[in-house]
């Protein structure tokens, strides 16, 4: 295992840091309050090359390896306080771009990938339903073949990017009697007849990332928008989830680093009882734990990135990365509030938002309980 950067990696990562520092340091408080998505920042990230980091160059991407990709996203998370924007970018990369890269036909790749890379198209996926969350494969949405089309019926919930997406990877069952083997993925494009992604959902954190409940009422999808094979949806979903688990919290490591530095500054500046609060062992030890958490989070992330670039089966590493990073991020944000005292609880100080943004990490891409189940089964329990 080797995490030392080559000159080319370092040059790329420095460029990401600089891009983030110069282009993505806008104010987030109002956007968070009003749940506003920053389209302009999305476009800039696309033009800069973020969304296409992992995509092969022939489809408009940069063809980078997983380790470089997660490290780049970490740099972005450090520079940009808009965790919602980064969450939207992640959802797009892992649930729309990755399935296309691995399962798209040549025509589908040519049609969607360049736009998904350069920021002109926004993607996402729709798996979760009102009655199937952790048990995702129990989904009820159906797809029926009718000539050169499929007809979709059902509804999806918690669809990140739903209200702004140009295309979604939608999972439906073509034959309920086959159970999980009937699950099939479709590329549903904005404006498809019978497709309604307009019902926005309000949420606690990552509020700048739009989310929708999505309805399919005799929704017509052309047969050429079948993604992968009929019945191949469960495998396709698992592959996309594995990438997502490994990578989706890379930017959170940057966010944790930012919180750590903020806490160190505050603990040195804030004086109580005639000394900096950082001189109190109880405060210092919280910050030391935070430092340990950030470093271990970074290591497990890079380890995942390295392994993902060197072998195929990474289920265990991906689940461990997701579980560890989600816990570390939430704990970091919680401790950061404690260190900032009452100020940390106030919107203006931009610490409480980090906690709200972090908590969702224990839910999406499989809850922490589900990650534990996966790890347990993979280590022989």
């Amino acid at each position: 295992m080797d995490f030392s950067w080559s000159d080319q990696q370092r040059e790329l990562l420095d460029a990401v840091s600089r891009f983030g520092r110069e282009q993505l340091t806008y104010e987030v408080i109002e956007n968070d309050r009003n749940a506003v998505f920053n389209h302009d920042a999305w476009k800039k990230c696309g033009e800069f090359g973020i969304q296409g980091l992992l995509v092969p160059t022939e489809y408009g991407g940069l063809g980078q390896d997983p380790l470089t990709t997660v490290a780049a996203l970490e740099r972005l998370g450090y520079a940009c306080k808009d965790n919602g924007l980064l969450f939207s970018i992640n959802a797009h990369m892992w649930t729309a771009v990755i399935p296309l890269v691995f399962n798209g036909t040549e025509a589908q790749k040519r049609k969607f990938l360049p736009g998904l890379c350069d920021g002109t198209l926004i993607g996402g996926n729709a798996m979760s339903e009102p009655n199937s969350g952790s048990d995702a494969f129990a989904l009820a949405t159906t797809a029926t073949r009718a000539g050169d089309k499929y007809i979709l019926n059902g509804s999806k919930i918690f669809c990140t990017n739903g209200p702004i997406a140009d295309m979604l990877v939608v999972f439906a069952n073509v034959d309920k009697s086959r159970g999980q083997d009937g699950i099939t993925a479709f590329l549903v494009e904005k404006g498809a007849p019978g497709f309604d992604p307009s019902h926005k959902i309000e949420k606690m954190g990552v509020r700048t990332s739009p989310m929708a409940e999505v309805f399919f009422e005799n929704c017509e999808v052309p047969a050429e928008n079948l993604l992968g094979k009929e019945g191949g949806g469960a495998f396709l979903f698992t592959r996309s989830m594995t990438w997502e688990r490994g990578c989706i919290l890379a930017s959170a490591v940057g966010s944790m680093q930012r919180l750590l530095e903020k806490c160190i500054r505050y603990a040195n500046e804030r004086k109580q009882g005639g000394q900096s609060i950082g001189k109190y062992q109880l405060v210092a030890s919280k910050i030391v734990d935070m430092k340990l958490r950030v470093e271990s989070a970074r290591h497990i992330l890079y380890h995942y990135g390295w392994v993902a670039g060197h072998r195929k089966a990474v289920y265990l590493e991906a689940a461990m990365t997701k579980l560890h990073l989600a816990d570390a991020w939430v704990k970091c944000a919680e401790d950061a509030i404690q260190i900032h005292g009452g100020y940390g609880y106030m919107t203006e100080y931009e610490v409480e938002r980090e906690l709200r943004d972090a908590i969702g990490a224990k839910l999406y891409s499989g809850t922490s309980e589900i990650q534990r189940n996966i790890i347990a089964s993979l280590i022989g329990l």
Binding site: D7, Q8, E11, L12, D14, A15, V16, R18, F19, R21, E22, Q23, E47, F48, G49, I50, G52, L53, L62
Partner: protein, 251 residues
Amino acid sequence: MTQPVEKILVAFKSVPDPYEAAAPGDSGSTAKSVINPFDEIAIEEALRIRERGETSEIVGVTIGPSSIDEQVRAAMAMGVDRAIRIDDARLLDPYAVARILRGVIEKEAPQLVLMGKQAVDDDSNQVGQMLAGLLGWPQATFVSKIELLDNRTRARCTRETDAGLEVIDVNLPAIITADLRLNEPRYVSLPGLIKARKKPIDVQTCQQLGVIVEPLTRLSSTARPARRSAGTRVESVAELVIKLKEEAKVL
């Protein structure tokens, strides 16, 4: 003799990253380098001129050892068509730099030369002026706006001076140095960066250019400025006024 712009030469320097400020005396080797911010503005202006269809080629030129190739690639990633690095690791003074640049200009024959008004590391603010003198070309320094006129044979430049915004016309070829408000440089995109890795850097030596330069000045030392002593607290506005009058003698 005036000539319409066909080729722009932009000179740029690699400087320590002002965001990662290293204090004098710190070993400079680990500090990151970037293109001098004013030179970046000059590069951006050249790109905009090309995007308006007012030049066909932009050549970047810098002087330094191979360790600055990252900045050369950054210039190409921004959009400079080709880049020349004059391989010289010496600490050069502005006159030496101007003479080397003259050598490059005589070879490349651009109609317009752009560069930053100064480098943020040594703040000399002399290269553009000296170069214009050496070449006998007109110059416009501290420029915040450039318009090419008369079929691109003349540049109307707005200069930021103490007296206000001064507008001057220079016949081309000319030297123009960029001020902060000329434009806001674009960022280097990752696709641009990766493409730039494939473009070759044209490495030349002073010898090849036929320029023999010895710096006229020598750096004898750099030191950290004396630390500012701590201020004092005053209890009231009245006390502040008294201290400003009697101790600081500024009122």
